[in-house]
Amino acid sequence: MALSEASEKSWDEPADRAAAGPLSSRKRPLAPPYVGRIARRPQQPPVPLSLAPGAVELTGPVFGTADVSPSDADLTRQHGGEPLGERITVGGRVLDGRGRPVRGQLVELWQANAAGRYRNRLDRHAAPLDPNFTGAGRALTDDEGRYRFTTVRPGAYPFPSAVHPNAWRPPHLHFSVFGSAFTQRLVTQMYFPGDPLLPYDPIWNSVPDARARERLVAVYDPELNEPEWSLGYRWDIVLDGPDATWTEEGR
């Protein structure tokens, strides 16, 4: 786990406006939302800025085959042997708010192994590392905005704090996505459908709007299954500028 997260005691601290917004919830969260480390959270509200045509942030970096090889999207083939765990295929489309595909852009994925352990110096969870699993992958979206990864289903891992000494993170994939504009940059997490840990997860609950939280949950899609090889999960990502969360709060 996440000792560095656990040591923050962040849930003891009052939630800020974004974290404590009105819940239009169909599912009541069973855990207080993660509000992060107070000392790192800006006190001043972000300064609103309407970007004029030509502004730097209305464009963004471009990536191509010089950056990503097709094999980078298969996390099960990065070592001499096969990783342990249930093989999954995760795919979907990256779209902008108008439903247009985001083409040729970079999607990055990182995750714990099947036992719930990251190959990372900060992870001290007493679960085994897998010598055949690093847990990082990259893909480019195609002309329809589609991405696709092959990996293993990550395990849950403990995420204790003073308020929740026995909390666990539900299995999740971390995603980093670029849009056609730098304003669309997105870092987020994908969850698995039907997970009983979700309502108890402070991180999932840090998204104040219940419908928005649901958009972080993939659907099982047999069309994405690779026959007799992997289970398919579909997860579409919609980039709508950087302020999706704050916008929803006002609704």
Binding site: Y34, P46, P48, A66, R121, H174, R185, G241
Partner: protein, 180 residues
């Protein structure tokens, strides 16, 4: 059609083995005579350094073009791609080697910090141009947080600290309704 956006989540503490890449900070082509260094620290509200934060820079080329180029993740040392990704070390320090942009004289900066629920945007100005709408809207003391300070010495180097909270808190941005 309007699709509701996918919400952001914390980057968490474990991205370090996935996102940083070799040469991420070397935006200037190798040996370029106009190379400048932008360096500084990411600090929290107590003045403590923030390790394992990730700074992503996007900028115009010296000729002002914003087209960028592929190749950031596997740099060949010859192409200016416009994009850099720089993690902070244990002391909260980062250093970017780049070229001063043409046109609008700033770097767009996206900052991802463990312990924050979402990423932050700001700008790094090499100078304050006349008529810049953002700068015009800020009081002078807040405006100053966006300026990379030139440092004395033979090397062209600029200091830019990010203060996440408290005294001299960096101005962070929220982009308005304008869409690409």
């Amino acid at each position: 059609m309007t699709l509701p956006a996918t919400p952001a989540q914390t980057i968490g503490p474990f991205h370090g083995t996935a996102l940083p890449f070799p040469g991420g900070a070397d935006l200037a082509p190798a040996g370029h005579p106009q190379t400048v260094t932008v360096h500084g620290r990411v600090l929290d509200g107590d003045g403590a350094p923030v390790p394992d934060a990730l700074l992503e820079f996007w900028q115009a080329a010296p000729d002002g073009s914003l087209t960028g180029a592929p190749g950031s993740l596997r740099r060949d040392g010859g192409v200016f791609t416009g994009f850099a990704r720089v993690p902070t070390g244990g002391d909260g320090r980062y250093a970017l080697r780049t070229l001063v942009p043409g046109g609008a004289p700033y770097l767009a900066l996206c900052l991802m910090v463990p312990g924050l629920v979402r990423h932050l945007f700001t700008r790094v100005y090499f100078r304050f141009p006349e008529g810049d709408p953002l700068l015009a809207a800020l009081p002078p003391d807040r405006r100053a947080t966006l300026l990379a300070a030139p440092e004395p010495g033979p090397h062209r180097s600029y200091r830019f600290d990010v203060r996440l909270r408290g005294t001299a808190e960096t101005v962070f941005l929220r982009f308005g309704p304008a869409r690409p």
